[in-house]
């Protein structure tokens, strides 16, 4: 069975050119770049090149790039650094729709005596910038706001956010894991202090990420040990993956135009086709300000995991907005924060495309998914006219 992979916000296929670039570092060039001998040392120059490529892709200087193991490590590093370099400040601002890499850490910090403000979002998943303005306090150490949401693809107005935050002299971190490679980013003009990215979201392998740290931003290391990364992140460099990330960033810049035209057109066709074929379906989030590859579609009266499993039977891979598949039991915190009604939230499916998707992929989804939804609706006790009157239970999860 053919696999139609539409879960690229979870992870992406490694680009063959990326694989080719990293291969020698898994085979013959296995030396440790910190070694004194030439065999190890020769690896170092490839790391330099990779750093330059990553930096160039976001308008940074090479010395502003720190290699990490993943987006989560980058996010954690930024937040710990901001707090440790300003120990008199005990307040953090973030949003209710962040990735767990930020959300869970901030919640953990709250237990350790920090105060946090979680900015809400409206039904389109957008922030109220006045709320941000009002939330900033004298003791705010950091504002951490994602660039684009991984579930809905909604893009936050980062320029405006940065202007508000920097005007008050507060450090700003953005989790840009979903944006790098899809939309242009230029930190030379966007005054963020920290920006996190992750390799496996842009066709590099898993296990490599990077953190941009603006020159002049006070920095406290998260990992201590040897003096790799100029003492800012200890641990032997993951040379092959760093090279891969460099290559992937270079390719992302080249391929961004395709991402924003062909991939976007595919996404739009998929979305329009599903909405037309399946009554009682809606798109979650701000469709105007959205990543070009993401579509979160809510199918009323059905449940996400059941849809996913039936799609899987046809080789279609996507992701569910009901958290049933992830061990939690409620619809995603993002959809809940947006106030998506339960009738829709449980049946939300995220389709996320990449430049490896084709028209044939979209055709298959349009052929197979509508009957799947119909079939589940036939089993469901709810449907048009049979809706429960009001929410039957006093649900705390509103």
């Amino acid at each position: 069975m053919r696999t139609v992979y539409l879960d690229n916000n979870a992870t992406t296929q490694i680009d063959p050119a990326v694989l080719e670039a990293m291969m020698p570092f898994l085979t013959e060039f296995y030396g440790n770049p910190s070694s004194m001998h030439r065999f190890g040392g020769q690896v170092g120059k490839y790391l330099v090149e990779a750093r330059e490529r990553v930096a160039a892709s976001i308008g940074a200087r090479p010395e502003e790039i720190l290699f990490t193991a993943c987006g989560t490590e980058s996010d954690n590093t930024a937040i710990w650094s901001a707090l440790n370099s300003q120990q008199d400040k005990r307040h953090i601002i973030t949003t209710r729709v962040e990735h767990p890499a930020v959300l869970n850490l901030v919640q953990h910090l709250e237990k350790r005596g920090y105060e946090a403000t979680y900015l809400g979002v409206d039904s389109k998943g957008q922030l109220d910038l006045d709320e941000l303005r009002e939330a900033i306090r004298k003791d705010t150490a950091l504002v951490s706001i994602m660039y684009a949401n991984n579930e809905t693809g909604v893009v936050f107005p980062m320029e405006e956010i940065a202007a508000i935050v920097k005007e008050r002299g507060v450090q700003l971190h953005t989790d840009a894991v979903q944006v790098v490679g899809k939309l242009p980013i230029d930190v030379s003009r966007l005054p963020v202090d920290f920006l996190a990215l992750s390799g496996h979201k842009l066709h590099a392998p898993k296990g490599i990420g990077a953190l941009y740290v603006r020159k002049g931003t006070p920095f406290r290391p998260f990992m201590r040990g040897g003096h790799q990364e100029r003492g800012r992140r200890a641990g032997t460099e993951n040379a092959a993956s760093i090279v891969a990330l460099g290559k992937a960033c270079e390719l992302a810049t080249v391929n961004m135009a395709e991402e924003r035209t062909r991939v976007k057109a595919l996404r739009d066709r998929l979305e329009a086709g599903l909405l037309a074929a399946v009554p009682d379906s809606i798109v979650n989030g701000d469709v105007e300000n959205r990543l070009p590859n993401t579509s979160s579609i809510a199918f009323k009266y059905v449940e996400g995991e059941a849809i996913l499993l039936l799609m899987d039977g046809h080789g279609i891979c996507a992701s569910s907005g009901s958290a049933c598949t992830s061990g939690s039991l409620e619809p995603s915190h993002v959809l809940r924060a947006m106030g998506v009604p339960f009738t829709y939230a449980h049946g939300s499916i995220r389709f996320s495309l990449s430049r490896f998707n084709t028209d044939a992929d979209v055709d298959l989804v349009l052929k197979e998914v509508p009957p799947i939804i119909n079939r589940l609706r036939e089993i469901s006790p709810f449907r048009e006219g049979l809706e429960p009157k009001g929410e039957k239970l006093a649900c705390g999860c509103k």
Partner: protein
Amino acid sequence: MWEYTDKVREHFLNPRNVGEIENADAIGEVGSLACGDALKLYLKIDADDRIVDAKFQTFGCASAIASSSALTEMLKGKTIAEAEKITNKDIAEFLGGLPQQKMHCSVMGQEALEVAIKNWRGEAVDQHEHEGELVCKCFGVTDELILHTIRENNLTTVEEVTNFTKAGGGCGDCIPAIQVLLDQALGKVAACEVPEAKPKALTNVQRMQLVVKTLEEEIRPSLQKDGGDIELVDIDGHTVKVALRGMCTSCPSSQLTLKGFVETTLREYVEPEISVVEVNS
């Protein structure tokens, strides 16, 4: 992705008995859209109290659909008395097991069955809710269901309670309350329990009556299910003397049964001061 057994997959992909029964003799409806799963069970019951047809409608994940399908298959041909004995464990077993995190789907099946039978008997069922106090607001789960599920499935942790009932799987506010119920069921007295205003002390006669009633209605039926039994020998103040019978006598965990189940239940239903001792007779 969950590891489902072939049987779960089969019942999910080809669910048996989907739909409504017109003029059903019993309907059991549990869950809600808000909670992410709901089940409506329809039964046709003949004059001999035998279930001649069973159908369902389910909103939920693969295991919810499979559990409903399994339940209807199990019910067909059974008398109400036989059907009443079906537990969530039986449903899970029928399917060759469910992932721990999905056990609540089997509990939903058992609940729907209970509600349907009550409906058939003409007993009042609070719409979608059991009697008892609401513990988990997010998923509308009562203390009664939690205690029942803990005992039925020998649960020992909050996480297990969440897997089986969903309680605690949302905002988490009810987790301390679940812990208290667990401690109660396991015979530990929760350290953080706030002592309630003391109810008026029972007279000896009242206490005796209550002990006998609780033993008959709450304790013996459960022990009998596992082939055991218990006999009341004497009541001396707050000390209840009992003798274990049947399988319980040879059961290596009889002390656990005595303290963890018998004593806790009596404390809950009669008086918190009660202690249970085993005597030979």
